[in-house]
Structure formats: C-alpha cells, structure tokens
Amino acid sequence: MVVYSLYIINKSGGVIYTYFNQKASPQTKSNANANLSIGSVFHSLFTMATTISPVQNSSGIQVLEANNFTLHCLLTVTGTKFFVITDPSHPDPQALLQQIYELYCDDILKNPFYDLEQPIYRHDKTFVLKLQEMIEK
C-alpha cells in the first residue's frame, strides 16, 4: 500500500515535479540533480521501448516490476508522463496515477501564473497538500 515516490515529466523529458514519501523511506534524500537525471533516463527508456517494440504504435512502458518495488507509468495524450514507484503490494497504482493526473489538471493547469512545461512551484500549497494526502493515506 506504500507509495515511495512520484515523478511528473513534461513532453520533452524534463522533470517538472518530484515527490518523495518521507514516511515510507526516511533515508532517501531528495537530490534535485539525481531526480532530474532519473526522470530523463526513464523518459529515454520509454522512448526506446516504443521504438524497439515489435508492434506498431506501442504505448511504451506501463509497468516495470522488481523484487522490492514496482513502477507504474501513465502517459497522457498531451505527452506528459506521470510515474509512481510503489511497493509491489500496492493494489491499484494506475488508479492513483489517474487521480494525480486529475489533480494536476485541476490545480496546476488552472493557475494563470503557471507556465506550461515548466517546473511546478513548490509553494503551490493546495496542490502539494492534496497530493500528500493522496499518496500518504
């Protein structure tokens, strides 16, 4: 049921938001540079996966499973990607992603002072609080 972290990536592969669940893994320090490269590497992997896929119009990586975590990715029609890293026991990460996507549409895109494709302000309190509630519940 534990969500470790969330990344939001814009359509050119830049990381615009990261969230780390400090309760779930207190020893993880959020390192801005490392986050940027993790996000970009995932973006590249995603693009490669679509290219090498034997089937036409592949939707890229949706799930990545490991022994102690799973990664679920949601690609929106506009090219923005959301991915969460969760415990393998999490029942429905796709639903969670959908909720986060909804929150992003509601609270970020309606803000007149937000520039599209740019990093999301840390001081957007309503967004951060709602996200926290969603992830840590």
Partner: protein
C-alpha cells in the same frame, strides 16, 4: 416550425428567469487566459493590479445596469451610501458569485477607508499561487468591479484589495480578502445632507 422545436429555442426562453450557473472549470480556464494576457503586458505588480482593476471597472459599469434591470421588479436609483453598499452585497455579489457577500464592515472614522467587504475563498484566488510578496493574486479584478459599480451609480470611490490575516491562524490558505472602499469626500457630504 413545429411546437417542440420552439420550446427548446433559446431565444424564446424568458429573459430574466434563468439560473446563471456555469461550469467552474470552463470559466477558470477562460479567467486564467485573461489573467495571463494581462500579466504578459505589464512589468511590475502595481501595473498588473491596475490593469486587472481597469478590466474589472469596465465589467462593473455594465453589471450595475444589468443587475438593476434583472434583480428588481421596479428598478430604482440608490441615493444613500448604505443602500448602494447593501445592493452590492446582495444583488451584485449574487450576480457574480451566486451568493451574498460574507461581510460588510464599516471602519472607524479615523481610518483612511470607510467600508470593506470581507471574503474568503474567492474564485479568482482559488487556483492561483501568489506571484508577488504581498500575496494579492487576482483580487484587484473584483475590487475593479466594485469600483465600476460605485462609479456608475454616481458614488465615486477608490477601491483596493488587501489580504487580511487573522492572528490566531497564520496559514496562508486561510487568508481572507478585504475590498476596502474609500469614498470621494463629495459623496460623504451629499450623504450627510440626505
């Protein structure tokens, strides 16, 4: 044209008995574009507030006319400061936000302003992050509307918006917005005579 079609024709509906509910999301996107447009064309917070306020005034002038016509059976001209403020509190607010204003407060005589409207959770601040240190966001737009209404009702006034923080709660989410009204001296003199 058959009867059924006539029934659904928008032009044939009664003019004044419509509910004015619109979708908040759709409206917010429109409002957001408007704010962005205004914001791109200025280079400092004062000019931004001024620009929003001017847009609001243009709306206020029209809204007064329109609300007078719709809200009352026999439209009448308000002459007293109290009456026009109550009119704004009830009718104008209902027209814009769908409910009366939360509070109308009279300030003591030694204050530079005379009255203020108090509001929490205004739509114009609901989705915005504060861009400038004063945390004002888009409130000057609504203060512009109020100024437009007052001006066209012949109560020249200066209206400014300010955030009000309560001492007991310092969280920026619970800040309320006050729209402070300062009437022209001529208005007050006239009001005393009536």
């Amino acid at each position: 044209m058959d009867l059924k079609q006539t029934k659904h024709n928008i032009v044939d509906r009664p003019f004044s008995k419509e509910s004015h509910q619109i979708n908040l999301s759709t409206f917010t996107f429109l409002f957001s574009q408007f704010v962005q447009y205004s914001h791109e064309r200025v280079d400092n917070p004062e000019a931004f507030a001024e620009r929003l306020s001017r847009s609001g005034q243009a709306i206020g002038v029209r809204l007064y006319e329109y609300t007078c016509f719709r809200a009352e059976k026999t439209p009448k001209r308000e002459c007293k400061v109290q009456d026009i403020l109550l009119f704004i509190k009830k009718e104008i607010w209902k027209m814009i936000f769908g409910r009366p204003a939360e509070g109308l407060v009279k300030l003591p005589d030694d204050q530079p302003q005379h009255y203020y409207f108090l509001e929490a959770n205004q739509f114009e601040n609901q989705f915005t992050t504060a861009l400038y240190a004063n945390g004002l966001k888009c409130a000057p737009f609504v203060s512009g509307i109020i100024k437009g209404v007052l001006d066209s009702a012949n109560f020249p006034a200066v209206v400014m918006a300010a955030t009000i923080t309560h001492n007991d709660q310092d969280s920026s989410m619970d800040k309320k917005v006050g729209y402070f009204i300062k009437f022209d001296p001529s208005v007050l003199q006239r009001d005393e005579k009536i």
